[in-house]
């Protein structure tokens, strides 16, 4: 790959990163806090391409030809993957193959006293397992997550948590019981209404604790702005 092709590729890579970071695309892959860095990297890459062209032009002749490493061609892959395919955020496939990552929360802040409670998947699971559901009893709960079915067909409501990028994403799972909709397809986002139940089970993958939720109703919702939960253990 010669200088000119490298310059073009750097420009494309930079433009791809800018595209991902200026839309919500980047949220499928990395945590939102990385956005400034991704933008900066895109700008630097485009600046590199521009500077290379500018210095070549000022010199008035193409730079001496160098053999550049062939491994550079591989950089077309992330560009194509992001522009053409833009793979979705990790969903039920990964969730079913990874054990629940529920860890004991640092504390249990007070919840609002009245009305239906909106909780995150990890918040419900943490309170149910490590606080015996003390703050949840007798309350109507609303929880949003996506559907995952295990090999036996048991439905779970899942949210993937993220620390840095999707390579370290880990699921927290809630098992569903009660009035579960008869037909559930994996990866559907649901807002589930239900009640706390003391029933527990163990994740078949890593023996981690999974609390149950007694479902009273559910409705499909759109994929959230940020598909990952970045609030837990940060």
């Amino acid at each position: 790959m010669n200088r000119l092709a490298q310059t073009a590729l750097l420009f494309l890579l930079g433009a791809t990163l800018l595209h991902a970071a200026t839309t919500d695309l980047y949220l499928r892959y990395v945590k939102s806090g990385l956005r400034p860095l991704v933008l900066l990297a895109g700008v630097v890459l485009i600046a590199t391409a521009a500077a290379t062209l500018w210095y070549d032009r000022r010199r008035g002749r193409p730079a001496v030809h160098h053999h550049e490493p062939r491994v550079s061609w591989l950089l077309t892959l992330p560009v194509l993957a992001l522009i053409l395919v833009a793979p979705p955020a990790l969903g039920s496939y990964s969730a079913a193959h990874t054990g629940t990552a529920l860890t004991k929360p640092f504390g249990f802040p007070d919840l609002p006293d009245r009305g239906p409670l909106r909780l995150g998947v990890a918040d419900y699971a943490g309170r149910a397992v490590y606080d015996d559901g003390r703050s949840l009893r007798g309350r109507q709960l609303k929880i949003t997550g996506f559907v995952t079915l295990d090999r036996a067909g048991t439905p779970y409501l899942v949210r993937m948590g993220l620390n840095c990028c999707a390579a370290d994403a880990q699921p927290v799972k809630i098992a569903l019981t009660g009035e579960v909709p008869p037909v559930l397809s994996p990866d559907t986002w649901l807002e589930v209404t239900g009640r706390y139940t003391p029933r527990r089970t163990k994740d078949p993958v890593n023996d981690g604790p999974i609390p149950y939720l007694e479902v009273t109703g559910s409705r499909p919702v759109a994929t959230p702005h940020d598909p990952y939960d970045e609030t837990w253990n940060t």
Binding site: N2, A41, V64, L75, S92, Y93
Partner: protein, 352 residues
């Protein structure tokens, strides 16, 4: 073969060109001529490749729609998007070292005796606030700038593990075990220094094959700086792609159930998490959170995960092979792995 514009590339220009080594092959005279002969027009090829991919995007998307493939691609893209900013940061820093910092600076800043320069360089790793993708190009630039390889390697190993960002992340991930932060710092610094001294004792310079770097003669500093950035991003970035593909494959293929079997055995659990750290190739700023969630493993096993990961993993191996040559990486990586496992097991026994 396709069109090749004659430009200034007559035989004279070829003999003038400094012989450059791509990461893969050395180019000797006759080989080089043949290469020139069948050299293709790469901008044209790049254009054709992109256009073809756009034309066949329907079938390509169809082929990649299986859940395994989608999750593979998501992890691959995620590793790239997450690592590229840090790679760019490291490349900017290494270009600045290569162009603006005179070699005499390092001669003054580091002790003259390599045995002393190693711990100083290792401790200096604490000031590079990035992950391992940034430290590889910087260490390469240090060696090119005349820093003794032993010291540069100590810096390469310690920088991603002991900088303040990573240690803070470790403290946040292990709120109940603050001694984990200390253990990580001590074990990582020990391994980095030990590898530096080991290289000073046993290492041979002919194992190191640094890419010639960009020859900056006859260029202004600005041109040299951007030339170095362009070359390093495309070069190290290519190897980053190799590493990201390997990590995505293993994340999609290795079943998590295997870990459960290893967790109960004290020795096996340390080895299992050491291997897992190599395979997963996590960013050193995120690995503490993953380690914290591996609750079925002992703290010593998880410390091994945190010490091995920033020093050697698939992505780093590919990048080290690209920066320092394959002969170097094949010897350096296993030694680092073995030493990191032993030192973290000992540190874990003493401190945790």
């Amino acid at each position: 073969m396709p069109v090749r514009t004659g430009g200034g590339t007559g035989p004279v220009a070829i003999t003038k060109t400094a012989p450059r080594e791509s990461g893969e092959r050395a180019e000797t005279g006759p080989d080089r001529d043949r290469e020139e002969g069948r050299h293709f027009n790469s901008p044209l090829l790049l254009t054709l490749l992109l256009l073809t991919a756009v034309m066949f995007q329907g079938p390509i998307r169809g082929a990649l729609s299986a859940p395994v493939m989608q999750s593979w691609m998501t992890v691959f893209v995620a590793v790239m998007v997450q690592a590229l900013p840090f790679l760019v940061l490291g490349v900017l820093l290494s270009a600045a070292i290569a162009v603006f910092v005179p070699p005499s600076f390092f001669a003054r800043a580091l002790p003259g005796r390599p045995a002393l320069a190693v711990p100083v360089a290792g401790a200096a790793g604490a000031v590079l606030p990035g992950c391992e993708c940034a430290s590889v190009p910087v260490a390469g630039a240090l060696v090119r700038r005349g820093v003794t390889p032993a010291a540069a390697l100590a810096f390469l190993l310690s920088a991603p593990a002991i900088n303040p960002i990573v240690l803070t992340a470790t403290a946040v991930a292990f709120p109940g075990d603050p001694e984990m932060v200390l253990a990580r710092f001590v074990a990582s610094l020990l391994v980095a220094c030990a590898m530096g001294w080991l290289w000073h004792r046993l290492g041979r310079t002919d194992w190191l094959r640094l890419p010639a770097g960009t020859s900056h003669e006859g260029q202004g500093k600005g041109a040299a700086f951007w030339d170095s950035v362009r070359h390093d991003v495309t070069h190290a970035g290519g190897f980053l792609v190799v590493g990201a593909m390997a990590a995505a494959t293993l994340k999609a293929v290795v079943p998590a159930e295997w870990l459960r079997l290893a967790a109960d055995h004290p020795v096996l659990s340390v080895l299992a998490l050491a291997v897992l750290a190599v395979l997963l190739s996590l960013c050193s700023e995120a690995d503490a959170f993953v380690a914290a969630s591996l609750t079925q493993f002992s703290l010593t096993a998880r410390l091994t995960f945190l010490v091995v990961g920033p020093m050697i993993d698939l992505k780093l191996f590919a990048m080290q092979a690209g920066t320092f040559g394959r002969a170097f990486a094949l010897r350096f990586a296993p030694a680092t792995f073995a030493l990191a496992v032993v030192v973290s097991a000992l540190t874990g026994t003493v401190l945790l």
